[in-house]
C-alpha cells in the first residue's frame, strides 16, 4: 500500500478520534443552539413593558399644547418648574422638560430626571422630538406634509447589473451571513488544525518515531500525508458544522423571522469560499509543519504559530470598519497579503464586489506562498526535526534555507 496513504490514514484517524476534536466538532452547533435558546429567553425578558408613562413639560416659549400622546407615553403640561418638580417627587411623572422662551432661536430644551443614564431612552427622545416638530408645523403646512417631514426618507436600493437589469443579488446583511460564518469557520479550522499538526509533530519528536517515519518515507511524502490527513479531519469538522447549519437556521427562523429569508448564497461565493478555504488551510498547515520542525516543544510551537494565526484572525477584529469601507486600500492590501487574504477576501465578498484583478493577485500570492513555504519546509524539516531540545536562531534557519 502507498506509504503516503498509510500516514494520511493514520493522521486522519488519530485526529478524528481525539477527544478534543470530537468536543470541538460538537460544541460549535451546541453553542449555536444555546445562542438561539438564549435569544429566545432574552427577547422574552426584554420585551417593552406595556405600561403608560407620563412625561411632564413646562412650556415657557408658548404654543406647544397639541400632540401630547405618543404610544404609551403621554406629555403632561405644568405651569411652573416647581409644580413639575413636585409631580416628579411623588412619582406622578417619570421626568420633565422645559421649553425655554428662546427655544426657537437656540433649540435648547432642558430635561430633568432622577434616573442615571448614559443617553436618554430612544422612545423618550422620539416622543419629545415628534411633539416639538408637530407643534412647530401645526397650521404652517398640511398634516400629510407634517408627517412626511417627520420621516422624510424611506430608502429602497436596487442594485443593477452593467446592462441595467436588476441584479440577482441585492446585497445587504442577508448576503453577509455566509461570508461571515465561512470566515469564522475558516479561522477555527486553521487554529485547530495547526494545533493538531504541532501536537502530533511534537509527540513524534519526543518519542523519536519521527526517525522511524523519516527512515521509511521521504520528507515530501511525510509532510504531504500529514497536512492532507489533518486537513481531511478539519474538513469533516467543517462539514458537520455546515450540515448542522440549515437545521439550526430553521430553529432560529421562528424567532429571527424574516431576516433568514433574505440570506442568499451566490454561486461564485461558494466557489471562491472553497478555494480560499483550501488555500488558507494549506498555507497554515505548511507554516505549522515548519514551526513544528524548528521548535523544541509543542508548547513553544503553539506560541510561535500564534504570530501567524493572529494576522489570519485580524480582519475579523476590524469587521465593522471593513463593512463600512470595503474598498479602502488597507483592505485591498490585506486581501493580497497571504496571511490575511483568506478571511479578508471572504468578508469583502459579502459586502462588495471584489475586482477580478484583486482576486487573481490574492490567489496567485497565496499559491506562491504555499509552494515556497513547502519547499523551504522540506529543506529545514529533516535537519531541525532531529535537533531535539534546541531551537535554531532565525539567522541559522535562513542560511540553511539559502544553502540547502
Amino acid at each position: 500500500m502507498n506509504k503516503t496513504y498509510l500516514i494520511f490514514r493514520h493522521e486522519f484517524l488519530n485526529t478524528v478520534r481525539r477527544t478534543g476534536f470530537i468536543i470541538m466538532t460538537l460544541i460549535v452547533p451546541l453553542l449555536a443552539l444555546l445562542g438561539i435558546g438564549a435569544y429566545h429567553v432574552v427577547s422574552g425578558i426584554s420585551k417593552p413593558v406595556e405600561e403608560a408613562e407620563k412625561i411632564g413639560y413646562v412650556d415657557e416659549a408658548g404654543g406647544f399644547d397639541q400632540f401630547t400622546s405618543h404610544g404609551n407615553l403621554t406629555l403632561v403640561p405644568f405651569q411652573t418648574q416647581d409644580e413639575a418638580n413636585n409631580a416628579l417627587a411623588i412619582n406622578e411623572i417619570k421626568e420633565y422638560f422645559i421649553i425655554p422662551p428662546d427655544y426657537i432661536s437656540t433649540g435648547v430644551v432642558n430635561r430633568y430626571t432622577m434616573q442615571k443614564e448614559l443617553y436618554p431612552p430612544p422612545a423618550t427622545m422620539t416622543a419629545i422630538n415628534t411633539f416639538l416638530l408637530k407643534n412647530l408645523l401645526s397650521g404652517q403646512v398640511p398634516a400629510s406634509t407634517a408627517s412626511r417631514i417627520e420621516a422624510p426618507l424611506n430608502l429602497v436600493t436596487v442594485t443593477l447589473t452593467a446592462t441595467g437589469e436588476v441584479a440577482p443579488e441585492q446585497g445587504g446583511f442577508g448576503n453577509f451571513v455566509f461570508p461571515g460564518v465561512f470566515s469564522i469557520l475558516l479561522v477555527l479550522a486553521i487554529i485547530f488544525s495547526s494545533t493538531y499538526l504541532l501536537q502530533g509533530l511534537g509527540e513524534e519528536k519526543e518519542n523519536r518515531l519521527i526517525e522511524i517515519l523519516l527512515s521509511s518515507v521521504s520528507t515530501r511524502q511525510l509532510l504531504t500525508s500529514k497536512v492532507l490527513g489533518i486537513g481531511a479531519a478539519g474538513l469533516v469538522q467543517v462539514a458537520v458544522w455546515v450540515v448542522s447549519a440549515p437545521l439550526l437556521l430553521r430553529l432560529a427562523s421562528s424567532s429571527i423571522g424574516g431576516f433568514i429569508s433574505t440570506i442568499q448564497l451566490p454561486a461564485h461565493f461558494l466557489i471562491l469560499g472553497i478555494i480560499y478555504f483550501i488555500l488558507g488551510y494549506l498555507l497554515f498547515a505548511v507554516l505549522s509543519a515548519s514551526i513544528g520542525a524548528i521548535s523544541s516543544s509543542s508548547r513553544e510551537g503553539q506560541q510561535l504559530i500564534a504570530i501567524f494565526t493572529l494576522p489570519a484572525v485580524a480582519p475579523l477584529w476590524f469587521i465593522s470598519l471593513l463593512m463600512m469601507f470595503p474598498n479602502n486600500p488597507v483592505w485591498i492590501g490585506l486581501s493580497i497579503f497571504p496571511l490575511t487574504a483568506p478571511v479578508a477576501v471572504m468578508i469583502r465578498l459579502g459586502v462588495t464586489d471584489v475586482p477580478a484583478w484583486q482576486l487573481a493577485a490574492s490567489i496567485a500570492v497565496l499559491v506562491v506562498s504555499i509552494v515556497g513555504g513547502l519547499l523551504i519546509t522540506i529543506r529545514v524539516f529533516r535537519t531541525y526535526l532531529l535537533m531535539y531540545g534546541k531551537r535554531p536562531g532565525l539567522g541559522k534557519v535562513l542560511s540553511m534555507v539559502l544553502k540547502g
Binding site: L6, I7, L209, E211, I212, S215, S216, R382, L386
Partner: protein
Amino acid sequence: MPEAEEIRPLEVSEVTKSFNRTKVVDGISFNVEPGEIFGLIGPNGAGKTTGIRMIMDIIKPDAGRIKVFGESLNERTKDSIGYLPEERGLYKKLSVLQSLLYIASLKSVESQRARSRASELLERVGMLAHQNKKNEELSRGMSQIVQFLTAVIHEPRLIILDEPFANLDPVNTELIKEIILEQRGQGKSIILSTHRMNEIEELCDRVFMINKGRGVLYGELSEIKARYRRNSVFLEYEGELGELEGIARRQDHHGSTELILEKDASPHEILEQLVHRGVKIIRYEVSTPPLNDIFLQVVGKAGE
C-alpha cells in the same frame, strides 16, 4: 559474483558529515557482514547516532557512499532495515497491536502477515495478553520491549539498535539479548550501538570504534583484544615458583599471580619452564584486557 545471501548488508565508505562547519563524522568506513553482530562503539558525542541516521537515510552525508545490500538507499532497501532509535517512545494513544501494525505497514508488510507476525512476537516476549492495551498504560519495561519489537516486526535483514539495553532491568535485558542472538541465528545482521562495553564483549563478533567523528578501531573483537593485550599471563599454581627467565616482574592478585613478561619473551616459553620445574598449574591464562580498558586507552590517547 557472490550469491544473493552473501551480499554485504552494509558498506560505509569515506562518509563525512558536518554541522555548522564542525565535522561530526569524518571519513568513516566499515562493512557489516551477513549473520554477524557488529558493535558500533564510542563515547557520547562521538558521531555514532549521526552515522546511524545517515545509514537510515534520515540525513544525507556530505561526502562518501553508503550501500545497503549492495544498493544505494531506496524504498526497498529501507524496508529491509529495522531501526530502534535512542531515547525512543511510542504513540501514547495507540494500542500495542496498532503500533506494531502501523510500523509494519510503513515497512511494506502486508496486513495479514503483519498480524500473524505481531502475535508471534508478542507471544515470544509474553505480552500477547497486553496487545490491546494503550501504550500509555504500559510499564516502562514493557514499553521498551514493544519498541524493540517495532524494529523487528518486518523481519529486516539488517537490524540497527541504538542503546537497546538503556534503562532495561536485568530480566528484560536478558530477553532482548536472547532475541538478538536468535536473529543472528537466522542469518540477520545486527548493528549494536552502545557504550556498555560488557554487552559488546558478550554479543559482538566485530566492532568499529568511533571517536570525535573518526574511526579509531575496527576489526574482530578477539583480534583487537590480542592487539591491546598486555604481555602478561595469569597463573594459579601450587608449589615453588622460583626465578623464571623472561619475567620482568610479578604482581600478586587475589588468588592468582600475574607474570609480566619481558619484551621478547613469549607465554609459551614461560609455560615450558614451569612444566620443566614440575610446578602444579591450576590455571594458566594469557591476559587480554577488558574492552573497557581498550576503550579508555584509545579515547584517552585521542584526547591527548
